[in-house]
Symmetry: C2
Subunit: 371 residues, 2 copies
């Protein structure tokens, strides 16, 4: 089905505004979604124009909706490791790690980035589910000595090839020394802010974990001013760019029905490590018997609308999977998407077809990221 | 702050459409929100016109977003009782119960309606938080033998003074025999549907828990056709009506920061029952020492916008609380709201003022429901 697409979002306290929302509105936001009960922009000058700009300059993104689940206390480290199948024993202070959180059957509850903030202090920077409740339920049931909160932290991302230059002018050139998924404290407005080299784009960039809402507009304005000569603009996660980058969206490309292995996250699942992680046994068994379906990149001859529901994928008339996210790539001149395909179609695909409302689109599997 | 209010919601698989969405769109939905990761309409012909209609006729509401957390298995009953501070020992099959779910400190995680569907089968019909994860975490930690799922159930509400007549024509006149918060199986399209006398309005009404999406449009169309002579219309939860009714919205009038007693739910908290309920001890202690603040109804001389954030409430220049939801009551000719006020201001209020962007509005405490 398609939606008219012009029905306004009605915002209330429940669908929280952020400290940056005034600037997002001033920049002429063209669409919103709700993510973790909070506002998130979806485009400003159109998804295609935003895409071209993101690849050539730098953008400032309000990603406050990437909420933190904070674990503190004596059992914080133990609970962190119970929560994720990724081995966190090497996660020293100053590092971040993409760390799947799964249930006992290996199915995805969230796919956060874990940040080791202190010895007994972890942030799970979460995708769109109330993972805090899962952590709290487990901690209560296991009798762990840990505090679990959602602190007032509002991530601001600077993404794009000029992100290092722009961010460096505001937070100090040393941010350029940060490796990928490393973080450091940077001084701004008399406060130390956690700044990581990370972000939900296919470009270089940083995420500034602002923990003082009073600094939100000064920080935003400083970045915009520092990037003026480079044409910095207000932006948001971009559907074309993130599909090209193979960045998965929880709720879109993977749901609670999918295991971490189906979603291709095996390199983030430390199945050989003897951890207490929930779901490790199930994933070991699944790996041994073989994964039944798998996410992959697809290219197709068609101009997709923004998907409201997955589109079926057929091979020789039989349904073999579905496209979960799609976009038109203006750079490549064809449709691109992420698709969950039955084994062995993702590996050795014959002639595939995306079954769209406008007819069948010839399709093929492509490797991720899509170049 | 205020928002422009005309930015479209961009829908994706993550912010789920419902089986009724085509009819909601055809009816000219004027605003959307996201609730439990799913679409929910906020108005059709304007909140005021929808309000007048709701009070005089009947409306069909797509409240699919009221998701079910289903507990089944030998420990389903035990887990249900661990989850809520309301004593469920009298909850026989055929009954529903509004049942606060709180954490160990008595703070609200959700405020669902619990439905006893079978001996070892419960539905928690939830407000806007992933309460399933809390239940799963607890069950895992306690080692309970229970399955916890989100089944494909899509509640459809019929609300308004003519709801009984309209619903009876489609599901049988016996629905009129149902008492409040009672349910029965009703036959439609060859299927037994769970139908409860309940709904999130200040009017009479029913909720039909449709568990077959293929029957969604037939059921919708049958209700609209059956109510044509009575002027039945498409509607949705109405901000004016629900404030007048004193119906609280999780995320708006109460958050994780509020205890069940602050929110005035003591009559749903069986603190004297010797249950295993999480949070009971904390609420007993809070009751003994006295509740520090409390929700109540307020009336004020002002025409509120739709609130994006709470509005402060002052007494003699000092802040004593905040208005969490507000609307203009066309029936009463003044502003109405729900407010969380420090003790003793909710009980014995001197001259209060709502501090609005347009200046101070004289206000007073009124009893709920607001008549």
């Amino acid at each position: 089905m398609s939606l008219s697409g012009d029905v306004p979002l009605v915002v209330s306290r429940r669908t929280r505004v952020t400290p940056f929302t005034p600037r997002v509105e001033e920049a002429g936001v063209a669409g919103y979604t709700i993510y973790n009960h909070m506002l998130l922009a979806t485009s400003f000058r159109g998804v295609e124009e935003d895409y071209h700009h993101l690849r050539s300059s730098a953008q400032v993104w309000d990603v406050s909706c990437q909420r933190q689940v904070e674990l503190t206390g004596p059992d914080a480290g133990r609970l962190a490791q119970i929560l994720t199948v990724r081995d966190l024993s090497h996660l020293i202070i100053g590092r971040c790690a993409y760390a799947p959180v799964v249930d006992h059957s290996g199915r995805l509850i969230n796919d956060p980035v874990v940040i080791r903030v202190g010895d007994d202090r972890y942030w799970f920077s979460i995708a769109d589910s109330d993972m805090r409740l899962w952590a709290e339920g487990l901690a209560a049931g296991w009798g762990l000595d840990v505090d679990i909160t959602e602190p007032e932290v509002f991530p601001l991302a600077v993404q794009g090839p000029l992100a290092e230059a722009v961010t460096g002018r505001v937070l100090g050139e040393e941010v350029g020394d940060l490796g990928s998924f490393r973080w450091k404290w940077c001084r701004f407005g008399g406060r130390d802010l956690l700044v990581a080299r990370s972000g939900w784009s296919n470009q270089d960039g940083f995420e500034i974990y602002l923990d003082d809402p009073d600094l939100a507009l000064p920080l935003w304005d400083a970045l915009m001013e520092a990037g003026r000569r480079d044409g910095v603009a207000v932006g948001c996660p971009n559907q074309i760019d993130r599909i090209e980058g193979g960045l998965l969206s929880y709720g879109n490309d993977m749901t609670r029905e999918n295991t971490a292995l189906e979603v291709g996250l095996e390199r983030f699942c430390s199945l050989d490590s003897e951890t207490e992680a929930i779901g490790r046994d199930s994933l070991l068994q699944e790996a041994a018997r073989g994964v039944a379906r798998r996410i992959c990149g697809v290219a197709f001859d068609g101009r997709p609308l923004h998907l409201v529901r997955p589109l079926p994928v057929a091979a020789n008339g039989a349904m073999v999977g579905e496209v979960t996210s799609a976009a038109w790539s203006p750079r490549l001149g064809h449709g691109i998407g992420l698709a969950m395909l039955d084994t062995p179609f993702w590996r050795n695909a014959p002639s595939l077809e995306v079954v769209s409302p406008e007819g069948a689109w010839p399709a093929s599997v492509v490797s991720l990221p899509i170049r």
